[in-house]
């Protein structure tokens, strides 16, 4: 990963080891992400260590998984919105297309239950999912290119909802089964193919017959070693796979951004007329970038929901999902890939999963009965009882908090955590005179 182009001030020796670490972290993108992750791990461990090792490792896995999938989605959205200024609030729809296409391509034509599929291998399904999402992106972008930002947004939202309602429709499911012998499962959704990571650890994915890798991992960390549950270890295996994909996304998007292609995107975002007057085919560029972004959203959908065992259109692909991903992009700072990664991790851990966990831990410390409703809680006039109610019903309060955070950011810090960094879009270093730097490439 590339470094910031920080101007070298007089080098100050840090006061302590901690200072040195923070310094290094700030100057390196990777460091920043790892530092944030580390802090989150620390907080999570403190929160649950009393429940045992499995609890801690399990929570860390969940937080990392969510952080990674939100980071992947945020990176894809950032390409549309942060780089090119395309206000796409149909992300959930494109993710649904990706994962559903994969499901329909990979599922057996003669399943025990659920809708039939084409029975093709998983890699084919993944490529098909990305291609289909990209195609839908083309269909969405073509007519809507010339629209104002907010009208374009509403069109994408409409498309996303039409996609969800279609996948939910049993009439559509039936029609599809009759014509193409594949189905969506309607409102009940469909089961996802087995996670291939599982068969890295267990022969044929069957519990009780570990592979060589499985033996090693289970032996060291599982029953034979630290005592962590096997499923949690397999879950961590998948997290590692996700991290690899994240690196792939990041490198891809950095390369796209730091190039003439990325320059064109920035120009379009800021002033289409200038790009047009300089000879850039703005419509074509918008279509291309929209298709690329949608393909990535499809892949993110596959990696996220395809690994969860079952997908269904509602509530998984409601518009609120898109808005969560927007919050992640905004928190991190739109226009910066590192910002999207950071935003995804911070959003997932601090805004999405965190408050729930904190709430339930707090609840355990309160020695009182939970009043059954808000009205009951208020009428008791007892702060402890009210607190018990609040912590037991932390879920809605969490979303109130999320809303407030979003409003606060838009009021005071719309640029997000990393927003005041505006990265130059070029494949070579533009920070100094050509002669001085000898024309080095940035990677």
């Amino acid at each position: 990963m590339s470094d910031d182009t920080a101007t070298p001030d007089s080098i100050e020796t840090p006061d302590s080891a901690l200072g040195a670490v923070l310094d290094a972290a700030k100057r390196s993108d990777l460091g920043l992400v790892l530092l944030t992750l580390g802090l989150i791990y620390l907080a999570a461990t403190v929160l649950t260590f009393s429940n045992g090792l499995n609890s801690v490792v399990g929570l860390l896995r969940t937080l990392t998984f969510l952080g990674l999938v939100y980071a992947l989605s945020a990176l894809a959205l950032n390409l549309h919105w942060g780089y090119t200024g395309l206000f796409n609030i149909g992300v959930a729809g494109f993710m649904a297309i990706g994962v559903y296409t994969m499901g329909m391509v990979v599922r057996s034509p003669d399943p025990a239950f659920g809708p039939p599929g084409l029975g093709l291998p998983l890699p084919v399904g993944i490529v098909a999912g990305m291609a289909m999402a990209s195609l839908f992106g083309l269909v969405a972008a073509l007519p809507a290119l010339r629209l104002k930002a907010d009208y374009f947004a509403i069109v994408t939202l409409g498309i996303s909802e039409i996609i969800r309602l279609t996948l939910q429709s049993s009439a559509f499911d039936t029609g599809l089964r009759e014509t193409l012998a594949i189905g969506t499962g309607g409102g009940r959704g469909m089961g996802m193919p087995d996670n291939p990571v599982r068969s890295l650890f267990l022969v044929d994915g069957q519990a009780g017959t570990p592979t060589a890798l499985g033996e090693f991992v289970f032996g060291t960390f599982g029953d034979g070693g630290l005592g962590i549950a096997n499923n949690i270890l397999i879950g961590w295996g998948y997290v590692v796979v996700l991290a690899v994909f994240l690196v792939g996304f990041y490198v891809l998007l950095e390369r796209l951004g730091r190039s003439p292609f990325g320059r064109n995107l920035k120009a379009i975002r800021e002033d289409e007329l200038v790009a047009d007057s300089l000879g850039k085919n703005v419509d074509l560029i918008k279509i291309k970038v929209f298709m690329i972004g949608c393909a990535l959203m499809g892949l993110a959908g596959i990696l996220w929901f395809g690994s969860q065992g079952n997908v269904s259109p509602t509530p998984q692909f409601e518009p609120i999902l898109t808005f969560y991903i927007f919050v992640a992009v905004i928190v991190g700072g739109s226009g910066s890939n590192t910002g999207s990664v950071l935003g995804g991790i911070v959003f997932a851990a601090v805004l999405f999963e965190g408050p729930r966990r904190v709430g339930s831990v707090l609840r355990d410390t309160i020695d009182a009965q939970t009043p059954p409703t808000f009205a009951d809680a208020v009428l008791t006039l007892d702060p402890t009882a009210m607190l018990a109610f609040a912590t037991d019903n932390i879920a809605p309060l969490q979303f109130v908090l999320l809303g407030l955070v979003l409003i606060f950011i838009m009021h005071r810090r719309p640029q997000g955590l990393l927003g005041d960094r505006i990265e130059t879009a070029a494949a070579v270093d533009l920070s100094g005179r050509a002669g001085d730097r000898g024309g080095e490439a940035d990677e």
């Binding site: 809507a144 509403i154 039409i162 429709s169 409703t373 409003i407 838009m410």
Partner: protein
């Protein structure tokens, strides 16, 4: 005109085909893929139901259309104002209708106190008309106040920001309102109307209409007429129309912008609340996020009618409502909403100014 705008030509062609098909169906004729059978009473019911729900959506759309044109942003928290009105209004209606029959706190939170209420408590215009009426008034007033408060707290500090920033902030406000409602009132869906014998009338052509539907239609039209009177006959109304029409020009002529903005929130918010109340009266059930679910339909109505046009919002609402209910003649009811969204998208692509947009006076 059609040669220049092929999209419009296609849509008109499809529209004509649908009309021909409809007539064929009514007549019981079959002409290849067209035609079939459709009873007049069924079509009539669809149209009536569509009209009623359309009036409610249109009522909600007025506020959305006004904030869009006067404050220049798409307010994604508008749906949750609709929910607010429903809960506030129905709480009052219940308290009045069933005071003494159940604990006050259960009534005020619309039976949010789950298992402390014995039996069914419901209100009905035939059995407890005062409760229904006062509930409507409460829905309007309380939501107006809340809408104004939300503006002062969250949108006013952002007056000078771009429309996208305000849109995103409104998503945040939507979350705050919606989940406060869930926190206070609970997440479950519950019934609100009592069932009363003889509440369904059979009208002409065999169309059935419930008393509640008629009440809603009357109330909605009444509110729209009141709005119309206010817009056409009062100074404030004229100022609002001017600002909705051409903001810069209006400001130059010395119209008190902040006063108009306040009026926009009060009236728009109040109507949103009233529409939420009426919607729940129509459906008979209430749940914390129904307004959010309704939001895109309301947007569809506003866009179809033309942003900034209040009469457009009403017309758009009625059309969307009819599309919603009558699309079942051709496609599965799974696609009710999808049909309405498709209409919205087509409008944005082919005629973004809507039916009445670009035409002056409200």
């Amino acid at each position: 005109m059609f040669r220049e705008r092929p999209g419009l030509a296609v849509v008109t062609l499809v529209g004509l085909l649908l009309c021909v098909d409809l007539l064929a169906k009514l007549a019981g004729l079959g002409v290849g893929p067209l035609g079939g059978s459709l009873s007049v009473s069924r079509l009539g019911s669809n149209l009536w139901n569509g009209l009623v729900i359309g009036l409610v959506i249109g009522l909600a759309g007025i506020g959305l259309s006004m904030t869009y044109s006067i404050l220049n942003f798409a307010n994604f928290s508008h749906g949750d104002l609709v929910s607010t009105g429903a809960f506030a209004g129905w709480g009052v209606a219940f308290v009045i209708a069933a005071a003494g029959q159940a604990p006050l706190r259960a009534l005020a939170t619309v039976r949010g106190a789950s298992d402390t209420t014995p039996g069914e408590i419901g209100a009905h215009v035939l059995s407890t008309p005062l409760a229904i009426l006062l509930g409507l008034v409460a829905a309007f007033c309380l939501t107006a106040a809340i809408a104004l408060a939300l503006d002062r707290a969250f949108y006013k500090p952002m007056r000078d920001r771009g429309s996208i920033a305000l849109l995103i902030a409104s998503v945040g406000v939507a979350l705050v309102v919606r989940y406060l409602i869930q926190f206070v009132y609970g997440a479950s869906r519950r019934g609100v109307t009592a069932s009363v014998d003889g509440d369904t009338l059979i009208g002409p052509l065999g169309i059935s209409a419930t008393v509640h539907q008629i009440t809603i239609a009357v109330a909605a039209i009444g509110l729209m007429l009141a709005m119309h009177y206010m817009l056409q006959r009062t100074k404030l109304g004229t100022a609002m129309r001017a600002m909705a029409d051409n903001k810069d020009l209006a400001l130059i002529t010395g119209i008190p912008a902040e006063r108009v903005v306040t009026a926009t929130w009060i009236l728009g918010g109040g109507l949103a609340g009233a529409s939420g109340y009426l919607y729940v009266l129509l459906r008979g059930t209430i749940q914390f996020d129904f307004g959010w679910t309704l939001l895109l339909l309301i947007f569809a109505a506003v866009i179809l009618g033309g942003i900034g046009s209040i009469y457009g919002a009403i017309a758009g609402g009625v059309i969307i409502g009819i599309v919603f209910t009558t699309s079942t003649v051709w496609i599965s009811s799974d696609f009710n909403s999808a049909a309405a969204f498709a209409v919205m998208i087509l409008v944005l692509l082919l005629r973004p100014e809507g039916l009445f947009g670009g035409v002056s006076t409200a």
